[in-house]
């Protein structure tokens, strides 16, 4: 929480609109409202966690316009009109897939579940957002690069061994799903081409 004091008078509120996980979300908040508190308490997106409140642990990392940012070091008002992606938003990424119990997981989420990349799960959302952005920049990291990529986030449970593995596995899943998407797209293109000749085939249904 904030250490800042405020004047006796009721705080001035600011109308803030932030595009969170693709949806414009608005609330009236004081200027000192942290982005982390805005997401968690004003928007009830509690997947983003707060571990240290001074930008060291990385648990609160979200993507702001695609870049990892510590939401405990940003004010909600400074996120005005920006695109914010939280851990909840990773589930609706184009390369997310439903698992057996129904949750949709992007490749990084899937890899963490496969590789035992989490224990208590508290730091995990910050790792997931960080790694998702990292793999966009470096889709096939070496083990050393994977370790470097996660070296700004603290985890007290796993000793990082399986998080490193998860990064490498996520890169593989990402590639696999990319290939699926490409072949689906190719398939769709074929179907569409066929549909132009034989109007009875419904490309959308096939997709």
């Amino acid at each position: 929480m904030s250490d800042m004091t405020t004047d006796q008078a009721t705080e001035q509120l600011h109308h803030v609109t932030v595009h969170v996980n693709g949806v414009p979300r608005s609330a009236s908040v004081p200027a000192r409202r942290l982005l982390s508190d805005f997401l968690r308490h004003d928007l009830a997106l509690t997947g983003t966690h707060v571990g240290c409140e001074h930008g060291v642990c990385g648990a609160c990392t979200v993507l702001v316009d695609g870049q990892p940012m510590r939401s405990c070091l940003m004010f909600a008002v400074t996120a005005q009109d920006h695109q914010v992606t939280t851990v909840e938003g990773l589930c609706s990424a184009p390369d997310a897939r439903p698992c057996a119990t129904g949750e949709r997981m992007n490749p990084v989420q899937q890899a963490f579940a496969e590789c035992h990349g989490l224990q208590c799960g508290f730091c995990t959302p910050g790792f997931l957002t960080t790694i998702t952005a990292y793999l966009d920049e470096n889709p096939s990291p070496s083990e050393e690069e994977a370790r470097e990529a996660i070296s700004g986030n603290l985890c007290r449970c796993t000793g990082y061994q399986n998080i490193v593995k998860s990064v490498l596995r996520a890169a593989e899943i990402r590639t696999e799903r990319q290939a699926e998407n490409d072949s689906d797209a190719a398939g769709d293109a074929q179907v569409e081409a066929a549909a132009r000749h034989t109007p009875s085939v419904n490309g959308k249904e096939r997709a």
Binding site: Q8, E88, P125, R156, G159
Partner: protein, 815 residues
């Protein structure tokens, strides 16, 4: 057959929820609750002269402000001393809000309740407290000197003084061919879970009931403690641990002041109140552990066999002793590790200081004990010029000597009696894994390249699965869903998966049909808590026993319905069927229907279960005489003593010849926790433990200045390891099942961190050629030790780099 579940590296059931933002941690609950914040002491030792809340009460949004004067009934009494002990002659606990005196920086003095946390903190800053400062006691030496006292009625700052012995240690030392004395010290660290503590209380005035959510390792403990403090019947209080973001020991301590005050305020204000600890609060008002000064005198023969061991140590227990002296008792007993000590005496003093209190942190006194013993083993090896692994091997308790009784009392007040373990086999595995016998060649090569490397080793035995008991409860619904409850709590250990594996295996159902609840007093009111690597041993076995009960009942009912003998039935994938004739069968859900005859038909299953359905025997009651309705089973596991897991670690470190930077090149682990339920989870536990051990060995310390200010109370300054600091961990397992429990489990939670400081000290000593007696060690400290060594203030090792020993133990040593 149902797929083998027990022992398989099954992926965790909890993960899809946790990786998609579906976790429910304490601060995710109670979005509309009032928020509490605390004014905490900025002084380590002071009298509270006056508290002025005038300015604070006017802050818009403040609902209430409480000081000690406002506390009522038992809430105004000292917090409980949870674990009394006859030798804890001067146990002291604090008050929920300080009464007249504060004894450490961070002690709570005023509680503010407001509409949100920002406002509550605003108000805290407007509270003025006048203090009269008192002399401060920081550090074990100052406490031992006793020039100033933390508590005026605890002379010498001594909370407890305890001696345990087995045999005549003075005679053994006097007659031993060789004796050495070591002075050792180990610093404070702390659990530092990523989620701090937190409590959220809802008072329901209509029913006069209190619900508490706490980020705790024991909900039954918190429930009972709060009910006692608030004078509520236990039946009117329930406590639930939601998802908990790590514990590592600090959350087994209870009730924390906030766990009493927040429910108390919720009842008083007839509403919901929540307090979530921030990181600074966690540093200065939770708990730390580890700090000890140790003096070891060992007598041994020419072959390095220990004949007598005399240990004295001074344990820093901080300002209060609410959790008793569990930590130093564990140090004094678990110090012995896998060895036969000959005559043994251990004497300790548990001392007050004006610092945050000390309660168990993963390992709970063992890392200190293992440090003492393993430094001693290395010192014997150096004294005689014998290989360090060989000296250890000569002192091992052998498999044929199990069970081995040390003649001492363990932390549970029961005999320290090892149940199992094969230490020579573990050592053999470790030496192969790390390449023990090839290390000298590696060192020679490294030296040619101008590099300094060292090899270290550490062995430990860990008493796990202490009692008194845990329970398991199973109920099978008519849908076939299997609900399992156990009362202890979960902080990331994967209990929803591991316990489901036990049930799936024992009962013969699919893993996805098993749903495990932990730490909810509504589901299981009898439980102790999660600590001492006991969850798998205690709840695992209790759940297995409960499953066997429910299975027996299911077979009984199904046999009657199918008109076959119970012995002819088996359960496969949730279907009760005749062995060899699986078409004669009945799903468990149907058995559940039959087990619970009903009057009303509210769905299809209930329709089938009404007393008017099917054929019935008018001479028999709907529920047989010795049965209860429902397909339900419950049982408890209560062992006569702890199980004893063990392990051995080795590391290769490199120390920079110029900068003294310390790098772990390899870290190898052999671990024996008996039968493994899920090896993937066990390995994860070991990884996490080693990482915490590395933190404690090289980076983490509590930097108190002489006035009792904690100078590094943030993640910026307290150096918890990132991925860049934790080496790749190579782990292998040995499974010697415990004969003490039905599943053969020994427990794994704490293991990884226990020997790490000892191992790293051993490796640095080996690299540098002079003794390392104090941990943690930073590059600066190592550099200074080098200067002192060069100046002749620190002696060299007598036998640096002795060749690996390949002769048998009964041959003469080569030194």
């Amino acid at each position: 057959m149902t797929t083998q579940m027990f022992g398989a590296p099954i992926k965790r059931k909890e993960d899809p929820r946790l990786v998609t933002g579906g976790g429910r941690y304490l601060d995710d609950l109670g979005q509309n609750a009032l928020a509490a914040a605390f004014v905490r002491s900025p002084h380590a030792h002071a009298r509270v002269v006056d508290i002025d809340v005038t300015d604070a009460i006017d802050v818009d949004g403040v609902v209430a402000i409480y000081t000690y004067e406002d506390l009522t009934g038992k809430v105004a009494e000292p917090l409980p001393l949870l674990i009394p002990h006859p030798t804890l002659t001067h146990g002291r606990t604090g008050y929920p809000l300080a009464k007249e005196e504060v004894n450490h920086v961070g002690e709570a003095i005023v509680m503010v309740v407001a509409t949100d946390r920002y406002i509550a903190e605003d108000a805290c800053q407007r509270v003025r407290v006048d203090y009269e400062q008192l002399p401060v006691v920081v550090g074990i030496k100052a406490a031992r000197d006793g020039a100033h006292l933390v508590h005026q009625d605890a002379p010498g700052n001594i909370a407890a003084h305890m001696v345990q012995e087995n045999g005549d240690v003075e005679a053994a030392l006097a007659s031993a061919p060789h004796t050495i004395t070591l002075d050792l010290s180990i610093e404070r660290s702390a659990c530092m879970p990523m989620e701090g503590k937190g409590v959220y209380a809802r008072w329901n005035s209509e029913d006069g009931e209190l619900r508490i959510y706490s980020s705790t390792q024991t909900t039954t403990g918190v429930r009972a403690a709060v009910a006692a403090k608030l004078d509520l019947p236990l039946a009117k209080v329930e406590c639930i641990a939601p998802d908990v973001g790590g514990g590592f020991g600090v959350k087994i301590m209870h009730p924390w002041p906030e766990e009493v005050l927040v429910p108390w305020a919720a009842r008083l204000l007839d509403t919901e109140v929540k307090w979530v600890e921030d990181r600074r609060e966690h540093f200065i008002s939770s708990a730390h552990e580890r700090g000890q000064l140790q003096e070891v005198t060992v007598g041994f023969d020419d072959e390095g066999r220990v004949l007598g061991l005399d240990v004295r140590f001074w344990h820093d227990n901080g300002s209060y002793t609410p959790y008793g002296i569990i930590v130093p008792i564990i140090t004094s007993t678990q110090l012995l590790g896998p060895y036969k000590p000959g005559a043994y005496r251990c004497e300790f003093w548990s001392l007050y200081t004006n610092t945050v209190l000390v309660t168990p942190y993963r390992g709970a006194g063992r890392p200190q004990g293992v440090f003492a013993m393993e430094r001693t083993m290395d010192a014997i090896a150096d004294y005689l010029g014998i290989d360090r692994a060989e000296v250890r091997s000569r002192n091992f308790i052998l498999p044929e000597e199990m069970p081995y009784d040390h003649g001492l009392l363990f932390q549970d007040g029961r005999p320290l009696k090892y149940d199992s373990g094969d230490f020579p086999a573990s050592l053999d595995k470790l030496k192969k894994l790390v390449g023990w016998d090839d290390f000298e060649a590696y060192r020679t090569q490294a030296e040619l390249e101008g590099r300094k490397v060292g090899l270290g080793i550490g062995c430990y035995v860990e008493g796990t699965g202490v009692g008194p008991y845990e329970g398991g409860h199973i109920i099978i619904e008519t849908s076939g869903r299997v609900n399992v409850a156990t009362g202890l709590t979960t902080q990331g250990q994967g209990h929803q998966t591991a316990f489901a594996q036990i049930v799936a295996q024992e009962l013969g159902v699919r893993l996805e049909d098993v749903h495990v609840t932990t730490g909810d007093t509504r589901k299981m009111g009898y439980a102790v808590g999660t600590f001492a690597s006991r969850a798998a041993v205690m709840s695992g076995n209790a759940i297995a026993l409960a499953t066997r009960n429910v299975k027996a009942k299911a077979l009984r009912i199904a046999a009657d319905a199918l008109e076959v003998a119970e012995d002819d039935l088996e359960i496969v994938n949730g279907v009760v069927q005749v062995k060899g004739a699986p078409t004669t069968s009945m799903p468990l859900g149907t058995v559940a229907v039959l087990s619970n005859p009903l009057r009303y038909a509210f769905d299809d299953a209930a329709k089938a279960a009404t007393q008017f359905a099917g054929t019935f025997d008018p001479d028999k009651p709907p529920v047989a005489d010795d049965e209860e309705p429902g397909l339900e089973g419950r049982d408890f596991y209560s062992p006569t003593q702890a199980t004893f897991a063990n392990g051995m670690h080795a590391a290769i470190v490199e120390t920079d010849p110029v900068t003294a930077e310390i790098t772990i090149l390899r870290y190898c682990v052999i671990h024996d926790c008996g039968t493994m339920i899920n090896p993937m989870i066990v390995e994860g536990q070991v990884h996490g433990g080693v990482a915490q051990g590395v933190g404690g060995a090289l980076y983490e310390r509590m930097a108190y200045d002489e006035s009792g200010q904690l100078l590094n109370a943030s993640f910026m300054d307290f150096l918890m390891p990132y991925a860049s600091e934790v080496p790749h961990i190579e782990a292998d397992h040995l499974e010697t099942p415990s004969p003490l429990n039905p599943l053969g489990i020994k427990g794994a939670g704490e293991a990884g961190c226990i020997p790490v400081s000892a191992v790293i000290a051993s490796a640095i000593e080996d690299a540098e050629g002079f003794p390392i007696t104090s941990m943690p060690i930073s590059p600066v400290e190592l550099w200074e030790l080098r200067q002192r060594h060069e100046a002749g203030e620190i002696p060299s090792l007598r036998h640096p780099h002795p060749a690996p020993h390949t002769t048998s133990p009964n041959q003469e040593p080569t030194a």
